[in-house]
């Protein structure tokens, strides 16, 4: 377990978050918070609203009610790219990479819009400033690719990567945005036990860099090993929270989510 202290500041503070789709309340008056350096897990039955919470935090959906405070600022309902700049990055439950671009370019996308403050004119003219900015950028992307172990696949088309690597690529892309908080949506889905092991190592290393993590996962071995704190959702509302060891004994959680296999 890494860096869990009670005195740490809150990075993410969600209060009263609510989202309806037509008549369906997907997220219901939800409060969660993630402290600096923590790895938190969000678990719950299928359709309990976990992904929706991520979508609300990152601005992909607009919320109906509630506040999302990130590093002391309201970020709810800001455009997604602004939220990204403020320091929240994410991956997707269904992988969303640019399949006809290379690994490097996919990662580069994490740098966001534009050429790092260099104007279009300078880009077109290939000025020194543009070249320097590009070089710096390339270097940074390479560093992160190295960190996650994808550097040797740098020039491969993303669509040709095996599934597991595509998941890692998404994480790399998210890291390149320079986040303070990383949201991972079922990163282990479709991975085998070896890959899961490597993934957990990676998540730990990311956490060691001081990045807080909010993780959605159905594989309890991962939640058990990684999460400092667990939130359990059902029907969009929080039914339990605490350490995994505590939460997994909660009869409501067992009944709604864990069944006999999860423990």
């Amino acid at each position: 377990m890494v860096g869990s202290t009670n005195t740490a500041r809150e990075v993410l503070n969600v209060k009263g978050l609510t989202k309806k789709f037509g008549g369906l309340v997907a997220v219901d008056d939800l409060d969660i918070n993630v402290k600096e350096g923590q790895i938190c897990a969000l678990i719950g039955p299928n359709g309990s609203g976990k992904t929706t919470v991520l979508n609300l935090i990152t601005g992909v959906y607009k919320n109906d009610r509630g506040v999302v405070d990130f590093a002391g600022q309201h970020v709810q309902n800001l455009p997604p790219h602004t939220i990204c700049w403020k320091g929240i990055a994410r991956t997707f439950q269904n992988i969303r990479i640019l399949s006809s671009q290379t690994v490097f370019q996919n990662a580069l996308l994490g740098k966001g819009y534009g050429n790092g403050g260099v104007s279009i004119l300078q880009t077109a003219l290939n000025t020194k400033k543009y070249r320097e900015a590009t070089a710096a950028c390339t270097e940074e992307v390479d560093r992160i690719l190295e960190f996650v172990g994808l550097l040797d696949l740098k020039n491969e088309y993303a669509r040709n990567l095996p599934y597991g690597k595509q998941r890692i690529l998404e994480i790399a892309r998210a890291l390149i945005t320079g986040p303070k908080l990383l949201l991972l949506d079922e990163p282990a889905a479709g991975l085998n036990s070896q890959e899961i092991h490597a993934l957990m190592e990676l998540i730990k290393r990311i956490s060691e860099r001081g990045i807080s993590i909010l993780l959605i996962e159905h594989r309890m071995e991962i939640v058990g090993k990684l999460a400092d704190w667990v939130f359990v959702l059902n029907h969009g509302a929080k039914i339990a929270e605490g350490t995994f060891d505590k939460v997994k004994e909660d009869p409501a959680v067992i009944q709604a989510y864990l069944g006999r296999g999860g423990r």
Binding site: V60, H81, Q101, Q105, G112, G114, N126, T134
Partner: protein, 321 residues
């Protein structure tokens, strides 16, 4: 053989430019006029390359932006009496401004919705030109404006120089991070947005750049013909510009230039085409689309092009299923 093609590919842009510079001395007066139109179209098509090829936003209203550029130039010279250079600058600026405004619907609309909107925009501009007679000359057209440079030949050289610079710029933008942001609009807008790409700004830049080039191309068009009338800016024209982008490979700058010039001069080369020009164009486009985007095994056009190292459509984003 393959080596030769590689070499050709590398220096393609340069070769095309040299050929263009030589054009006035080796063509008859009329052929030269056609080449001029080709170069002028190429400038416009490079703009569409950014919008359609890079960003994946289909526009069927591009002729209207061309009209905006050409008419603004003409009106400023004839009705206001401005200097041609000032007129040209203002024309490009205004077209860019209006084109950027077109990005507003693109914020919320995609696919067919956006295309129909651009069709609508094209109609709106055409009807306005037709009916605002005191300013635009209406159906009678607009004539009597000066050229940027006194001799046709110098205007041509200016145009070729502009084309060259624009080609390099468009290529560079395509390879830059900005270009990646534009391409991400085509592939996965949501992912791009969440990764910090300001999608609205990217759309605006895409529309603005393409409108700017349309405006510039319009100014040159006015210079070439010396006469403007609303019927040269119809939806059918927009469709032929679309053809030029697609046949150029959607991603390749040199491809776009070559295809613009070839398609512009096709009816002149094949005289029998003249009355069924569009019939043949559209058929060629259909055959091209069909062969290029569907792998029909070895021996197909696509296979052939691929072995020769030519750019192929990238529309084939397969899902892993």
């Amino acid at each position: 053989m393959v080596k030769l093609f590689k070499w050709l590919k590398k220096y393609a842009l340069l070769i095309v430019m040299l050929l263009l510079l030589a054009a006035p001395s080796v063509t008859s007066q009329y052929e030269f006029y056609v080449v001029q139109r080709g170069v002028q179209n190429a400038i416009h098509v490079l703009g569409l390359l950014i919008l359609i090829g890079y960003s994946g936003m289909l526009s069927l209203g591009s002729a209207a932006l061309l009209a905006t550029g050409a008419y603004t130039y003409g009106i400023l010279l004839v009705k206001v009496g401005l200097n041609p250079w000032v007129g040209a600058a203002l024309a490009v600026a205004l077209t860019t401004f209006i084109g950027t405004g077109l990005a507003l619907p693109a914020f919320r609309l995609a696919g067919p919705f956006l295309v129909v909107t651009t069709v609508g925009f094209g109609e709106i501009v055409r009807i306005l030109i037709l009916n605002m007679e005191p300013i635009t000359g209406g159906a009678y057209g607009l004539a009597g404006f000066a050229k940027l440079l006194p001799s046709t030949r110098w205007v041509y050289y200016l145009m070729v120089a502009a084309l060259f610079l624009i080609a390099i710029a468009v290529k560079r933008i395509g390879e830059s991070r900005l270009g990646l942001a534009l391409k991400s609009l085509r592939e996965d807008e949501v992912a791009a947005e969440v990764m910090g790409v300001d999608v609205r700004r990217a759309k605006m830049v895409s529309f603005a750049l393409s409108a700017m080039l349309a405006g510039l191309s319009g100014v040159f068009l006015a210079n070439l013909t010396g006469y403007l009338s609303p019927d040269s800016f119809t939806a059918a024209e927009s469709a032929s510009y679309l053809l030029m982008v697609v046949m150029g490979g959607m991603q390749s700058v040199t491809g776009a230039i070559v295809s613009s010039i070839v398609i512009t001069s096709l009816p002149e080369v094949l005289r029998f085409l003249s009355s069924s020009r569009l019939l043949v164009y559209s058929l060629v486009l259909l055959v091209y689309l069909r062969l290029n985007w569907v792998r029909t095994g070895k021996g197909s056009l696509a296979g052939l092009m691929k072995t020769l190292g030519f750019p192929l459509g990238t529309g084939r984003a397969k899902d892993r299923s």
